[in-house]
Amino acid sequence: MKGLANNDSKAIETIYKDNFSMVQALILNNSGSYDDARDIFQEAMVTLYEKAKSESFVLTCQVKTYIYSVCRRLWLKKLQQAGKFVTQAESLEETVLVEDDLEVHEKRNAEFAIMERALSSLGEPCKSLIEAYYIHKKGMTEIADEFGYTNADNAKNQKYKCLMRLKKLFFSQYNIGD
């Protein structure tokens, strides 16, 4: 679990291996495809990751049950959007309530969508520049080298301009009051 929160690929691989087949069976049994299974499972993993990272993290059930419940909920939602009105075959495995977690997850997804839109409307090289500094945490000198600026100060200037534009774009859609 801790490994997941720290983005440790070994831990992720273990969780992946232990749970994926179960989710795949669930999705395939309920008229989904292999691609659907992968998408749903990965979304559930992100939900779990967000949960694992939060300070108030308490898992009240087995990881397997949690992942199963999240996937089931996500998939049912997807099916419902398609408008079917038939009981889908369900294996009657125990499920836990995951509505609250999913709500948080959806809210975050919406926030990330805003960030993604803002970033992509920045255009290059602004986007890469910002990503290099704020996400990959590279130093200013390194960035200057990589992008071909003559010195770190020039890169910093450019970064500042980009940052101001990005913030403007981001906050025009993101409401602080929320």
Binding site: N7, S9, I12, E13, Y16, K17, F20, S21, Q24, A25, L28, N29, S31, G32, S33, Y34, D35, D36, R38, Q42, M45, V46, Y49, E50, K53, L79, Q80, Q81, A82, G83, K84, F85, V86, T87, Q88, A89, E90, S91, L92, E93, R108, E111, F112, M115, E116, I130, E131, Y134, I135, H136, N157, Y160, L163, K167, F170, F171, Y174, I176
Partner: protein, 368 residues
């Protein structure tokens, strides 16, 4: 230029790289200048957002890679059975495209079918559903499902079969004839379960995708004919605002729900169905709609997903029409005698339900 310096200071402040003295000075500045304070708060939110965004992107990337590695190592299987590890990669590369195409066709077909079900419900082509069923490798029912059914002695669903759909059906003739929705019985076989959990094998006598109706006949030695039905099926239409109720199996147990007729026509002005306001859930499909006299006036078929409490039911006239048409060609249907009079008039609701619930069955369609 000053703004730039200020922003850098804020970043250093938030990053915790300031010296104590400078920090104290800056905090004082924050206190005295609301604009700067506002900027700090705003920037903190922004930095938090972009950091989280970056981390989620990283985790997604890791997940994607993990998926790829595991597929290559054959720890997870994406279609196509794999025997030895050495051949896995080769095998995967060879059939990668085929699998991808098959999967996307399956996915696309599923989408198209759901679209059709939602918008032109009767026009569903069962062959397509079966085709889809063959394309994706059917995984046998899980251990858990079998475990949960242990108390039902030997389920009549074949051991290697998968339950594909479920819904509700009700008796239209005590000899064992039931009616349900056509979309409920997709699959290769059907069983019906009464409210006590007893299962019976049932055969599909006729299926009418246009009307979305299917007639089933219980063919099982355990079944004893139920004699006369307590309810009648009404031919004339219902008045707007009339109180209605339904019984169905959205869960493994029979569930009662009450509402009223909210419009005389169904989706997009379809006059063979009507709109009812009650709470129905997946599994209610095929359930009978009763009026206050205990007469059947319709069959629950679908609901509006984007609006609450909008449920469509096929008018009971459709049952008469379907059976009259079939009687001309199908001898097995000629035996059906639809009940016309209801014994339930004047009875209280709970007594009505007690009389009726033995005649409402759960349907499970399976594929093997």
């Amino acid at each position: 230029m000053e703004d730039k310096l200020l922003l850098e200071t804020i970043e250093r402040y938030l990053g915790g790289t300031m010296l104590a003295e400078e920090k104290a000075w800056f905090e004082q500045l924050r206190k005295n200048t609301p604009e700067i304070d506002q900027m700090v708060v705003e920037h903190r939110i922004f930095l938090h957002q972009i950091e989280e965004f970056g981390m989620v992107q990283k985790i997604k990337h890791t997940l994607h890679n993990t998926h790829k590695t595991l597929v290559e190592k054959a720890d997870i299987n994406e279609g196509g059975s794999v025997s030895t590890r050495g051949r896995v990669v080769q095998f995967y590369n060879k059939y990668k495209k085929v699998t991808a195409i098959a999967a996307s066709i399956a996915g696309l077909t599923a989408l198209v079918i759901s679209g059709l079900v939602a918008y032109f419900s009767p026009a569903v082509n069962n062959d397509q559903i079966e085709l889809l069923g063959k394309k994706i490798e059917q995984v046998t029912r899980t251990q858990q499902a079998q475990g949960a059914r242990l108390n039902e002695v030997d389920s009549k669903i074949p051991k290697d079969a998968t339950v594909t759909a479920g819904g509700t059906a009700f008796m239209i003739d005590g000899k064992g004839f039931l009616i349900t929705n056509a979309h409920v019985v997709k699959g290769s076989g059907t069983i019906v379960v009464n409210r006590n959990g007893q299962e019976f094998n049932a055969k599909i006598i006729n299926i009418d995708h246009e009307r979305d109706l299917a007639i089933l006949k219980i063919q099982d030695e355990d079944f004893k004919p139920l004699g006369n039905l307590p309810y009648g099926i009404k031919k004339s239409s219902v008045d707007l605002g009339e109180e209605l109720y339904t019984l169905g199996y959205p869960r493994e147990e029979i569930v009662y729900s009450m509402g009223y007729l909210s419009a005389q026509s169904g989706r997009d002005g379809d006059t063979s169905s009507c709109q009812i306001s009650l709470s129905a859930n997946p599994g209610n499909s095929g359930g009978p709609v009763f009026n206050k006299n205990g007469e059947i006036v319709g069959i629950i078929s679908k609901k509006e997903t984007k609006a609450e409490g909008v449920v469509y039911a096929i008018k009971s006239k459709g049952i008469f029409k379907m059976i009259d048409e079939l009687k001309e060609s199908d001898t097995s249907v000629q035996k059906i005698k639809l009940p016309s009079s209801s014994k339930l008039k004047g009875m209280g609701r709970t007594d009505q339900v007690k009389e009726v619930e033995d005649f409402v069955f759960q349907v499970k369609a399976y594929q093997n």
